[in-house]
Amino acid sequence: MKRLPGKIFSTALVKAGVVEATTERDLIRAHMHLHAVLPRLADLARLDDEARAIISEMNVAIEFFVPGGPKVVLHFKNSSVRAVRTGKADVCLMFPTCKMLNDMFDGKKVTPIPIKGVHRMGDLKKLTRLTDILTRYLKPSQSEMADKEFRAKHVELSLLVGLAATEAIATIEAKGRRVASHMPSGTMLYDVKGGPKAHVIVKDGKIEVFPGAIKDPTTTIEIRDVDLAVDLVKGEVDTFAANGSGDIKASGGLALADEYNALFDRVGLYLS
């Protein structure tokens, strides 16, 4: 099947009454699912043995897209995963609407329309196994969280999802765009003591997120320990109170931290 230009296709579906028009919320959530959650498969390759073994057997590019909406291509190659937003794929999975894509991430039964690479069922099964592992880390059971090592991985992946999700707030959400428009450029290091590190690069309102440390960050956010970070990624920490008590130590460019935090605080409204 030839690809229809996305916007025309989705507009036609809406007009025909087949699907509902996309709301700002649906679009933001879809953007987060494709650009903040799915790219974590790259981190999973580093953090989880089982996932690494599955990824090492894959050599494929898989695309998720919503016509007229967000798109991601996951390249599985040489035991690693790379997520990009443009280019071709071997397998293309279309979700007619953002809402359907979001439903799938919410665990509802949704069947995407395979536009290309239908025959590569094996790769799709592997992908499903990988996303199941990712879900285990992002929505863990209590018993899994009892394990210290698991907790640290949960924190790292959740933190990366949360940080990466700020991009959708900054670029799509009307309120977030207001903050992003005057957010100073710079780099922010998140340093969970005894746990993972992650960093954010903000440049002219654009946000990119990476695992690990960065040299000479503009702003450093030190988080007391993994347990506090668990609560932080759940959105259960009063960050101003934690700053005063020393549980969180912010230093350096606090104007950046302050603006960025306003975006980060809103992620929980869309992802839970």
């Binding site: 101003f240 005063g244 460019g253 606090l254």
Partner: protein
């Protein structure tokens, strides 16, 4: 020398976090200074010094974020407040103090013919923009990017609790760029109610910027040409540059002016003042609060303004501020560091020339607080009349030790 520690501040803060959202809300939250190396709670003050709950004493350059202009616990102001307190603090009606204070301000400030009183700066900046909207029957308000005009929703920082309609008619221009103002005036032709501006630019987390020659005068002309109300937010700088209002210092004339901080040496009172043509519009805006008429603060303000005039306080504060600014520059240089001192001498601010991320400032301020001098790392400072040469000298001695620590940690410039 024994360094200050802040254990009781931290203890009290932990108690506070259990019963007060964020422990201490807004810009007084420790997160905005140097958590762990700064006091969180105050106990008492006298002159240019105050004590925190740990019993540490500071030579203070934050002055309660501005209001303490004479000095803590000033005897003349306290006597006036006490006298009124004996008569009563709040009544069904205003007291004669309200009229006396309005008359005093009208006498003092040539540009104004009337005043209305509130409690905080935010009360009167909000009232000023509403008066401008009422006068012009237009919607848009223009303000400078990074400027602070208070915590009401039209200009509130951040996103918490706001909806788009709160701020959709508030637009920002770039300080010292009259073209960026003109662009907005053209774009929203016939719908700009007011331009609100501070007399010079004093954003947090940045150097202060004085108005470029002609900038404020050009804004005045734009307002005249387009029948826009020109509002001066003098909440922070008022009565520290010129007793006739900061516009006199910079040579321009606003239509409405907002005062607060230095009006009453720490008592809660603010004023929106204006010239005759705006008085009727101001009358039509419902402006009140339970305590807007309370008399103790107004009595304190009357005494404070008298004292400022009588003692020629601004001249003294300018001298002390200049001594501090020059001294810091030299002391930094002696330690191999370059600092930038910006703003007028009565409201100075210092940043380190070789950084943008305030790490040196945070170390410097934290170490100074441990040694009994309070200099905020991110917010401009305030000089008081109570600062004397010996206090500045002591401050420079402490600064010398702190610059040495900074230069050891970060290297010389």
């Amino acid at each position: 020398m024994k360094l200050n520690s802040f254990d009781k501040s931290k203890e009290l803060f932990l108690r506070a976090t259990k019963v007060i959202p964020s422990g201490i809300s807004g810009n007084k939250n420790p997160a905005f200074a140097v958590p762990g190396s700064f006091p969180y709670f105050a106990e008492s003050g006298e002159g240019c010094r105050y004590k925190d709950v740990d019993g540490n004493e500071y030579i203070d350059y934050l002055a309660g974020y501005g209001p303490i202009v004479l000095g803590y616990n000033d005897p003349v102001v306290e006597a006036a407040a006490d006298a009124q307190r004996k008569l009563g603090a709040a009544f069904n009606h205003p007291t004669p103090r309200a009229v006396e204070l309005a008359e005093k301000l009208v006498d003092l400030i040539p540009a104004i013919d009337w005043c209305a009183f509130g409690k905080n700066g935010s009360d009167v900046t909000a009232y000023a923009i509403q008066t401008a909207r009422e006068h012009t029957q237009r919607r848009k308000i223009l303000m400078a990017k990074g400027a602070y005009h208070g915590s009401q929703s039209w200009c509130r920082h951040g996103l918490g609790g706001l909806i788009e309609s709160d701020y959709e008619h508030v637009l920002t221009f770039t300080w010292n760029d009259a073209d960026s103002v003109m662009d907005l005036v053209k774009k929203y032709d016939g719908d700009v109610a007011g331009i609100i501006i501070t007399p010079y630019h004093h954003p947090a987390f940045a150097d202060q910027e004085m108005p470029a020659p002609g900038f404020l005068q050009t804004l005045r002309k734009i307002c005249d040409d387009h029948e826009i109300v020109f509002i001066l937010d003098d909440v922070r700088a008022g009565f520290r540059l010129d007793m006739k209002g900061s516009h006199e210092y910079f040579g321009f004339k606003p239509d409405l002016t907002c005062y607060c901080k230095a009006m009453a040496n720490g008592y809660a009172v603010s004023a929106c003042c204006g010239s005759q043509p705006f008085k009727n519009a101001a009358s039509r805006v419902f402006f009140t609060g339970t305590y807007y008429t309370s008399a103790v603060e107004q009595a304190a303000s009357l005494a404070c303004l008298d004292e400022l005039v009588k003692s020629n306080a601004i001249e003294h504060m300018m001298k002390m501020g200049t001594m501090l600014m020059d001294g810091l520059k030299k002391t930094a240089a002696d330690n191999g560091l370059e600092v930038r001192l910006t703003g007028p001498p009565t409201l100075p601010f210092m940043t380190f020339a070789s950084e943008k991320n305030f790490r040196r400032s945070q170390l410097f301020s934290g170490e100074a607080a441990k040694r009994g001098v309070l200099l905020h790392p991110h917010h401009n400072w305030f000089i008081m009349r109570a600062h004397k040469e010996a206090d500045i000298q002591r401050t420079l001695e402490v600064a010398d030790a702190c610059f040495a620590i900074v230069s050891k940690e970060f290297g010389k410039d």
